[in-house]
């Protein structure tokens, strides 16, 4: 994109005309702005306010507790445990998604017989509803009838667990299942970027006698840097705040406690214990963490003139 955002003005002209133009522009933006304001910004603001109240999720009454919710949260070992579990989950699944996504993109980058077909197959896990993905994996990993434990057992590796949906191993299942579901997001973004890398760069590297590995490290990776950073940011945030996957994998089994990440903890506070104020405060903690991550990201990697790079 060579066109900067501010050059995209259609009608140049005198001030009065320009004012009319901006009024039309504001008018066209109004429906979206109103909807975002009403359904996104307002709820977030309302949530900040709710965090200062003790409120039952179903009853109308509420009472001001100031920072009470927050001091209670910060002294609750269950909260810290859920933060830890969410961190392990976010780091483990994001790192593996990026590895799998980049590997997949490199595999699919070059054309070969059946390339389009395989591209379709590789994107598919991202398209099927999360509920289905989790239930299929619960079935694949079932302690009694699961096919994957059966296959792993055949390898006869010493120390290999017999059952996987248990306290000690369920986090691994959660991470692998999440990588399976979400790595296509990384794959597509990286693939799209790979296809825009000028071939001359590789020609130059080859002339210099660079091996395939060196070409990847010195040509491909630097070109992918921006994509990988934004993917890392988005996936990291989204995995840290993922509710449905750990909830659906963990509920109904005793091992759910071992994957009670911060979002699951928040849900339980709000809808198992009906502490809406506490739930709101926990959401605010997540929001604060998110804003911090975004701020650090933008300070470390300032967006260029064109917003699209951000």
């Amino acid at each position: 994109m060579s066109v900067g955002a501010d050059t995209l003005v259609l009608v140049p002209g005198r001030a009065s005309r320009r004012r009319r133009e901006s009024l039309i522009g504001i008018g066209l933006l109004l429906p979206s702005a109103a909807l975002v304001l009403a359904f996104t910004i307002f709820p977030v603001a309302y949530n900040v306010w709710l965090g200062f109240y003790a409120k039952h999720s179903l009853r109308a009454t509420s009472s001001w507790v100031g920072l009470g919710n927050y001091s209670q949260i910060l002294t609750d070992p269950d909260f810290w445990r859920s933060v830890w579990l969410a961190t392990v989950y976010a780091i483990g699944s994001t790192a593996l998604q990026i590895v799998a996504g980049v590997a997949g993109a490199l595999i699919l980058h070059r054309r070969f017989a059946g390339c389009d077909f395989l591209r379709g197959v590789a994107l598919f896990p991202y398209m099927i509803p999360t509920v289905i993905a989790v239930f299929v994996w619960r079935w694949l990993m079932n302690d009694l009838y699961g096919v994957i434990p059966y296959l792993l057992n055949m390898l006869r590796i010493p120390g290999m667990p017999e059952a996987w949906l248990t306290h000690t191993t369920i986090m691994w299942v959660l991470i692998v299942l999440s990588v399976w579901t979400f790595f296509p997001f990384v794959l597509v973004n990286v693939l799209a970027r790979l296809q825009t890398i000028p071939l001359e760069l590789y020609d130059a590297a080859r002339v210099d006698g660079a091996s395939a590995v060196r070409q990847f490290v010195h040509v491909t990776l630097p070109q992918l840097k921006n994509v990988l950073l934004i993917v890392l940011l988005l996936r990291g945030i989204w995995m840290f705040t993922k509710f449905d996957v750990p909830w659906l994998l963990g509920f109904g089994g005793g091992a759910g406690e071992a994957i009670r990440t911060l979002p699951v903890f928040t849900y339980q506070r709000s809808f198992t214990y009906y502490q809406a104020g506490m739930g709101a405060a926990l959401s605010n903690v997540m929001l604060a963490l998110l804003l911090m991550a975004v701020t650090v990201y933008f300070i470390a990697f300032p967006p260029e003139a064109d917003d699209n790079d951000a």
């Binding site: 996104t40 598919f124 993917v231 509710f243 998110l290």
Partner: protein, 286 residues
């Protein structure tokens, strides 16, 4: 908009087709496809074979029992219908507002335009869980609990910023000179938009519509807290219900999975190229 793959320069080197290359391709295929294959065969196995040890990779006996149970003994079609209603409603609102909003953000100047774009990006990153409590309480306040419209409105809260962001990138990629040319040729603003910009933006709009549809189609969290009545349940929470039966019927759950996956698969294969265009433009550029 030209298709991305077609405009690619040809790789000068011959295609790699060594044994190693095929091994990793097959590995990728197996990783992605095996769980889906297993879902399919599990839904078609006889009950006793489903729980057999060792498991059979190709069923000895095929049965449609699970599908019969799904169609005649559960509310599957009601769940399906509700999901389609909510997803279509969400997509219609989001795309209508999003297209004109994104057009405005890229073609007009007014105060705070960049700020609005930034806020949109930030809102796009908002995970749904942050909105859980406030949207639930507001829905109760306005009597939108147990309402498909209420559910669709909550989906707007996280799909509209996302749609605005992607559509804005699409509109930015359409050269403004084309519109200038149309205006000079005597077209008015609306005609330029309709005849010049829209055809070029169509792949992006389709991609965005699909993503919005998928958000609504996939959601579990908001349906879980907002919908209690069985006749209003969407697929996600309906299938979740199957888990609470006295004996978990894995064949039934896998059959439901297949029934939800097949339409998505057919749909997805037909529009795949739009999806890739959308992803490339939406997430990252430059």
């Amino acid at each position: 908009m030209p298709e991305r793959a077609a405009s690619l320069p040809r790789r000068p080197r011959r295609p790699v087709s060594t044994g190693a290359a095929w091994a990793v391709r097959i590995g990728l295929f197996a990783f992605c496809a095996f769980p889906l294959y297993w879902m399919l065969v599990s839904s078609l196995k006889a009950s006793h074979e489903l729980l057999a040890s060792p498991p059979t990779f190709w069923p000895h006996e095929w049965e449609l029992r699970a599908y019969r149970k799904l169609f005649y003994e559960t509310n599957f079609w009601t769940y399906m219908e509700n999901t389609v209603i909510v997803a279509v409603l969400t997509t219609a609102i989001v795309i209508t507002a999003g297209v004109i909003g994104a057009y405005s953000l890229t073609r007009y100047t007014f105060p705070c335009r960049t700020l609005i774009a930034r806020v949109t990006l930030l809102a796009y990153m908002f995970p749904p869980i942050i909105m859980l409590v406030p949207l639930f309480l507001l829905a109760r306040e306005f009597g939108l609990v147990n309402s498909l419209v209420g559910l669709a409105l909550t989906y707007i809260s996280f799909s509209l910023p996302y749609a605005l962001w992607i559509l804005r990138a699409f509109f930015q990629s359409i050269p403004i000179d084309l519109e200038h040319a149309a205006l000079i040729d005597g077209a008015n603003r609306a005609q330029a938009l309709w005849y010049v910009v829209m055809p070029l933006a169509l792949p992006g709009i389709i991609a965005t519509a699909i993503f919005t549809f998928i958000v609504a189609w996939n959601d579990f969290l908001f349906a879980l807290v907002l919908i209690g009545k069985d006749e209003l349940k969407t697929i996600a929470i309906g299938i979740n219900e199957f888990f609470h039966m006295a004996v978990v019927d894995w064949g039934l759950i896998m059959a439901a999975g297949v029934m939800v996956t097949i339409p998505a698969l057919v749909f997805f294969v037909t529009i795949q190229r739009y999806l890739i265009a959308g992803w490339g433009t939406g997430g990252v550029k430059g």
